[in-house]
Structure formats: structure tokens, C-alpha cells
Symmetry: C2
Subunit: 280 residues, 2 copies
């Protein structure tokens, strides 16, 4: 016990030291979209494609030319010729709806050329293989979602700095992006120091206490999105501590819980590779 | 495309079916404390030990009998005999402070028998090896944290159902608990179905769209604390779908995004082991 006073500094002064010695967290990494939850977007994202990527049926029914249905009523149906079928996911293969014609479509199917609307399946009766009686008219555009209606190609989608969560993952998946650029996470090593500290789960010998800070601070850092590791409890020994700090320092910021007396003795400045060290 | 209508049910009816067919999430598992972040406590927790586990010095200084310091001033010091030193983590080994005696203690050190207070190091001068001049009096209990002051053994600490986060991890670590009983997480398998679906990152062929629900729902479930996996995109094929569901069903709840037509054809009831299946 030396009786020397430690020099206390203000928070502002501490901030200046940190700013001068710690490089800002920078750089990006590319991660699979499915693992991006909780990460921070590195760059503005623009939609690479239209969503939906084609004009799309919103109902099960028949793709038709709407004028062909004008005048149809429950009492007086209009006959159309069914020339094909498109299910969700089908390619169209030169199918084109001409005057007096209809193509059976499923919800999500691509609308064939010529058709401008979808008549719901409930408002038509199928007669044999290729005939249809229509009992209601449809308006142009009815039951069709137009290409780019949800998101237009080139649209500014998400801004740099946005936190990625389930909603953002859904948007990016819908646009076909399976990996994204995110900010690198700060790497943080947590060390507890002190001869009095014992690991939870061990036997507590006389005069010892369990280390709480190591686990708690590591958990808090992980919650904040840091790449944090609890290095462990280090005894109050200059050599042990210096060795640990030097091997951990590749990390960047080192948080050590409790005052580190041995390093005061040995001199923090002697660890040349150590940029900053925060004790509390 | 059959034209048959599907039978819609109310939310209440759906809830009744789920309640009747899904067993409640139950049971516990024991996890290491360091991995417990985000889990839910399975049982009420009582403190297994006092915290701190012994009377503890709050300052660097000297453990003394307070009456020995009464009358000490800056002008007129009182001499005490230093009979030993206790650092943080040291066992005491029969050290007892008698009248006119003092023991050097570090912050966090166990207070020896006989002493009832700690005189801050700033208010004393060490004279040689074993003598001390005291320039201030201390009151009984001054600068000592009594055993159990933070948490008393047997105290109801955390209730069943509490979410475990950094703060709770710190409390449990301080009490020496390195593993805890938590609720089992619901296992959820996510399947997307439909011939129109393509995985993000693949080439989008005509008529196809990227699957967004699979990634998004899996991410949302993980955020909610479920043990969720995205099984993948399954084609609209009864055999393929039934095989996937049967291998996934050991999980419990299966969420499938989009309507599953092939199973309507094959009959959901034929998958004997399948308890419940939610389509949306």
C-alpha cells in the first residue's frame, strides 16, 4: 500500500484520450443475409430489380381482355375460349390472349400478353376443356399487381446505418439479395483482474468474491452488437497481466474491470502495442 | 385449378385447434450462465449465499477499533501499532485487531476480527514498519460493507419467467451461479412452398419470384427467442412436401408460408404424425 494518489481525469479528458488513440470502428464485411440480423448496413441500398418482377395475378381466375367481359351479368353470361393455363412460377412461352380468349391463372402467376385484368374464378363457369362462361365484367387492371408496384428498380431502399432486423431481411430477400455489406463489429476483449476474484461455479475460499463484471460486461457488449469475448480473470501480477494484454490487444479496445495496480507499477507506457486501456 | 372453395375458419376456431393439438412449450434445460442471455428463467431463484460474503473494506486504509481513533485531529495524531496487512482476496489467518492496533487493508479486503471500521489511508501517516499516526477519528461501521448488505442469503432474487439479460447475468455471477434453469425454447421449422419461389442469390427465371417469407419469418422467430430453422423452399408436390413435413414434424409447430395445394389433394389427415400445420 503506497499511499500515492492516482490522478483522476474528467470524462471530457477521457473522451479526448480515447478519440486520439482509438481508431474509429470502420470497414465493412459481407455477410449472408440469413446471418445479418442485428448488424448495421454499411451503404445505401438501391433496389436491383422491380418487385414484383412482372405483372402478377392477385387472384385465382382467368386473365382476359376486359372489354370482352363488358355486359356480362349473372343472368346473361358471355362465352370465352380458354387457350391455356399459367400457374405460379410458370414461364409464359409465347402465350398471348386474343379477343374472345382467356387464360386460366393462379394467384402469383405471370399475366400473359394481351390480357389486362383477371376475372376471379368465382365469377365464371368452366364448360368442358376450353370454354368459359363469364358472369361479371372486370375493369382494366383489376386483380393485377403491376411490375414494380411494391418496389421500383433503383429506388433508395435502405440507408447506410440502418439496423438489419427481420423486416429488412424480408425486403432484401424479396429483391434476391442473399448477402449484404455491413459494418464490422467492434472486437472487445473483457478481462477481470484481481487476486480476490473467483469464477462463478467454483468454490469460494475465504476472502474471495465471485467475478460478476466479466460475465455482465461481456453480455452487455454482445447485446450491443459487439464481437465481445470474456478473456478471464487475471491475477494481480505484472507479467501475467502484460502477457494477457499483449495477446488481447490485437482486438482494439480492452475493458478491464477493477483497477490494475501491477500495471501502475510496471508502467502502462511500456506496453508499446497497447493503444488504450480503460479501467473502472 | 379445381374451383373448389377452401373452408376459412375464424381466429377463435384456429386458436381452439392449436390449443387442442399443440402441447404447451414446457420443460427446462440447464444452460451455462454465459450463454443464458435472452433466455427465460424457469424457476424462482433464491440467493444461495450472502453478498458480499464477508465484511469488506470499502476503502484502502487501516482496519481499526473506532474508539482508538476518538480525539485524533490533524494537529494531534494518535499512534496505533500495525500488526499486519490484508489485501483483496487474502484469507485472514487468525489476525485479530486488539486495542491500539491496526491492520492495513485494501479495498475489497476482508475485515479482521476486532476491527469495526476502516480509516482511509489519506488520514494516516505510516511511521516505519509497524507504526501509524492517525489524524482523524472514524465512526463504528465507517467504510465497511457488511456481509449480506447487497443481497441476503435466501432472498427471492429473480422470479420464474424473468428474461435473462446482462443485468441478471451480473447478479447471478456475483452469487457464484455459473448455470441456470431456463425454459426450453420452442423449436420452429419454417418451410416456404411454391413452384414460383426461388432462393435469393439465384438467377430469377421467368415467372419466378424470390422467397422473402422464409428468411423473414425465421429471423423474426429467432428475434423472439425461438429455436427456428429455415428448412427451405419446397415444390408444389405432395410427396416432396409430405416427406419434408414428416421429417420436420419432430419439431412441433410448422409454419409454412403460402397455401399448400398438394396437401389439400393428398389430405393433411393422412400425415398421421403431424399435429398442427399453419398456412398463411
Amino acid at each position: 500500500m503506497s499511499g500515492r494518489f492516482l490522478r483522476l481525469i474528467t470524462i471530457d479528458e477521457a473522451r479526448r484520450i480515447i478519440d486520439a488513440n482509438i481508431q474509429a470502428i470502420g470497414g465493412f464485411e459481407i455477410v449472408p443475409l440469413i446471418e445479418a440480423d442485428g448488424r448495421i448496413l454499411f451503404e445505401d441500398l438501391h433496389a436491383p430489380v422491380d418487385l414484383p418482377p412482372f405483372n402478377r395475378a392477385l387472384m385465382d381466375g382467368y386473365a382476359v381482355r376486359s372489354p370482352d367481359t363488358f355486359g356480362a351479368t349473372e343472368e346473361k353470361g358471355i362465352r370465352l375460349k380458354v387457350i391455356g393455363e399459367i400457374r405460379a412460377g410458370d414461364a409464359i412461352e409465347d402465350l398471348e390472349v386474343g379477343r374472345g380468349e382467356a387464360v386460366e391463372v393462379a394467384t402469383g402467376a405471370r399475366i400473359p400478353e394481351g390480357a389486362d385484368s383477371v376475372l376471379m374464378v368465382e365469377f365464371a363457369d368452366r364448360v368442358g376443356e376450353d370454354e368459359l362462361i363469364v358472369y361479371r365484367h372486370v375493369a382494366p387492371g383489376e386483380n393485377i399487381q403491376m411490375r414494380g408496384d411494391d418496389i421500383r428498380r433503383g429506388e433508395n431502399l435502405l440507408r447506410r446505418g440502418t439496423g438489419i432486423h427481420a423486416r429488412e431481411i424480408g425486403i432484401l430477400a424479396a429483391l434476391g439479395m442473399d448477402q449484404i455489406k455491413v459494418l464490422r463489429r467492434p472486437r472487445v476483449c473483457v478481462i477481470s483482474t484481481g487476486n480476490e476474484l473467483e469464477y462463478p461455479g467454483r468454490e469460494l475460499r475465504e476472502g474471495k468474491i465471485f467475478d460478476a463484471n466479466g460475465y455482465m460486461i461481456t453480455a452487455a457488449l454482445l447485446e450491443l452488437g459487439a464481437d465481445a469475448s470474456f478473456i478471464g480473470v487475471i491475477r494481480d501480477s505484472y507479467d501475467e497481466l502484460r502477457g494477457t494484454l499483449e495477446s488481447a490487444v490485437s482486438g482494439g479496445l480492452i475493458l478491464s474491470s477493477s483497477l490494475v495496480e501491477p500495471l501502475q507499477e510496471g508502467g502502462i507506457s511500456s506496453t508499446g502495442s497497447l493503444r488504450i486501456w480503460v479501467s473502472f
